[in-house]
Amino acid sequence: MGTKFNIDRKPVPDEEINSHKDFGELIKTFKKQSIEKARSDTNFLKNKKITYTAIIAGATVLCTVTYFSVFKSKETKQTTYDKITTIPLQTNAQNSKSNKAFIVPPISKLNVPYQKFKLKSEHGATLKTQSNSKIIVPKNAFVNKKGENIIGDVEIQFREFHDQADIIASGIPMKYDSAGIQSHLESAGMIDIKGYQNNEPVFINPKKQITVELQSTQIADKFNMYALDTVAKNWTYLHRDNSLKGQKPLNGRADSVAFVNVNENAKTKTLQKQIDAIPPKIEIEKIVYSKKINQLPKANEPTKPSKAIEGRPKFQLDVNAKEFPELATFNNMVFEVGSENKNYNSKLSEITWSSAEISEGPQKGKNYLLTLKLRDRIEKLFVYPALTGKYFDNAIKTYDIKYIEYKNVLAKRVVDEKRLKEEFEKKQTEYLAEQKKLNDDLIKERIKIRQEEEQQLANQFKSIGNQQRVTRIFQVSNFGIYNSDCPNSMPKGEVLNPVYLVNGTTPLLNLSYSFLICANKNLVYNLNTNEPLRFNPNEKYSLCIIANGKTYMCDHETFANNTSNKQNKISLKEISSDIDNVVDFKKALGI
């Protein structure tokens, strides 16, 4: 039978579900079933235990009516159970209707960047982040999608969130739904951690945990640990944050910043690519150079003819000029048997050999190896080319001409080789200079990034300077987003239907986001832009509003002034659209 697929089916109303709930009927059926089962047993009456059960079962049928009166009187308690179990499901369903992606940085140019670390999975590592937090990765902490242990380089991508600017920039929702009660999370520090091998996501080995020791300026011991479930679109309570147990807050600034890794930007990536492309270019030039050298005319030195020695045994042989070009010019050449051939005797000259082959001898161009064969007999002799009488004189004349030609070719080749070498070396030098320049630029760019990050960190942690700090410990069994938080209910007290005015004059419409920033707590309320503004007049707030692709803010003094006399006009200032990093964003928000 096939499978049917329903889209957007109407949910069954709670009233209808509740109308089918009938515990009395369930108990009745259960007892009936118990009695029938007991009766079907042939030893029913003989078995004391079963008899006892049946008696109890019979008795409980009678008690059913009593149950109804007992449990109906506990209606409040039942409602409590329903609330606990059913409301979150409804809320999730409502959440899931949203067509927006769950985590969307509200300002397109702005986000909290990832720090990247590489480590060998089989070795593990302790990584130090830019804020001096630690990521402790045990040995063999990763498995692949098949659940197999991973060996080799794993890239950890990590980012941390410390204040309201980080929270707004990241777009990570801080709303928390607990049993239908909406609240916003006040953060004592949040992390986002992922792992990859060759761009493929990896998983944490179920037998291992990654420990993150996060530096935090929130020293209160009131926080819980939560993990963000991006599908259920809600935070999941994990446990109480007990990381402060036995820990005394430390005064002053965190230790000096230790950079393990430098984040790359588009420019450094391009530079690295250009640098990587240079060695292959040099290799290509080398190949072209070698080819050109090989194509140059070869200078083959002619062999100087030798005069035949009187009385020395000789062989007259036909020589393949292609095989031995150095002998090609000699007419009527003979091969003298060298005195080193102890195996030679005059009888060898009398035999008609079936084959006589010449090959190169140990002194190249001077002597040759003559191999004589007749059936199974093989004789090997070292022979020397030689000429007699007028043939020798003619050969000498030819040799002189050939030698001059050879010298000319050789001289030209030397010049050409030198020119080609210079050309190649020039190109190689140019490439190496380019590589050096690119390397310098890359180093400069990386230093710039590092300085910016240091500056960012310095700003990020400037508040730590004179504040106390603690280490919050996250035990990570799965990659994702974790938070040490405390839920805060929506602000109560005053209610306004605000009219936002840019620079006190131009009304601002079509709000995309409205963030109410708590000055005294690490807390940001992501407000519904269509609802009135609720706030506690005893708290200090500022506002960050995003509309029509622009970012506006209202500092806490203006907010306090504008709202003190219950007027509904709130003056906003536009934040520069050039801001593309959290440090400047923080400054602009006055955090």
Binding site: I7, H20, T29, F71, F203, V231, H239
Partner: protein, 194 residues
Amino acid sequence: MEFSPRYHHTADMLQTEQHLIEAAKQNPEHFGPLYDKYYKQIFGYVYQRMDCKDTAFDLTSQVFLKALTNIEKYEYKGVPFASWLYRIAHSEVMQSFRTRKNLRTVNADISDLRNICEEVEQEYMEEYKSILMTVIKDLPEDDLQLVELRFFEKRQFKEIAEILNLTETNAKVKLYRILDRVKKTLTKSNKNGN
């Protein structure tokens, strides 16, 4: 015994629930609070997989009857009572497809399909709707269960693992593989479409 408060909010609530289970083991009458607490969830689970509402109500009653009959066998060994009920519900639902020839049904919202697209880093397009429906319908039962629990019922991996009697990592790995296949199908259809 320690209880994990993972999706019951507090250890106290789990402890209370354990008392209710013990009481129900002693006397079936005391099963009432557990029945009230989980009725809607179990009906939701059953109806999620059925086309006919009345059949879903009947099966829900069956699930609780079975739970009550077997409650003596339930012991807290890390699997919460809710997951135990879901396992019974799953078995009943599957049984009904086999014996009563009830129609296996997948129920989802458009937003769930969008969520799947988001998870595989694809922007949702109207033409993906029918592709996703076909891909999901054609999944083997075990894979379909995973997709339903995670995307249509928005359950945490821990709970999914407990219901399906898997390790959490195994559930993740399996779902990742399914999503990988979905992604490939969508990418392919995108290429063919272009």
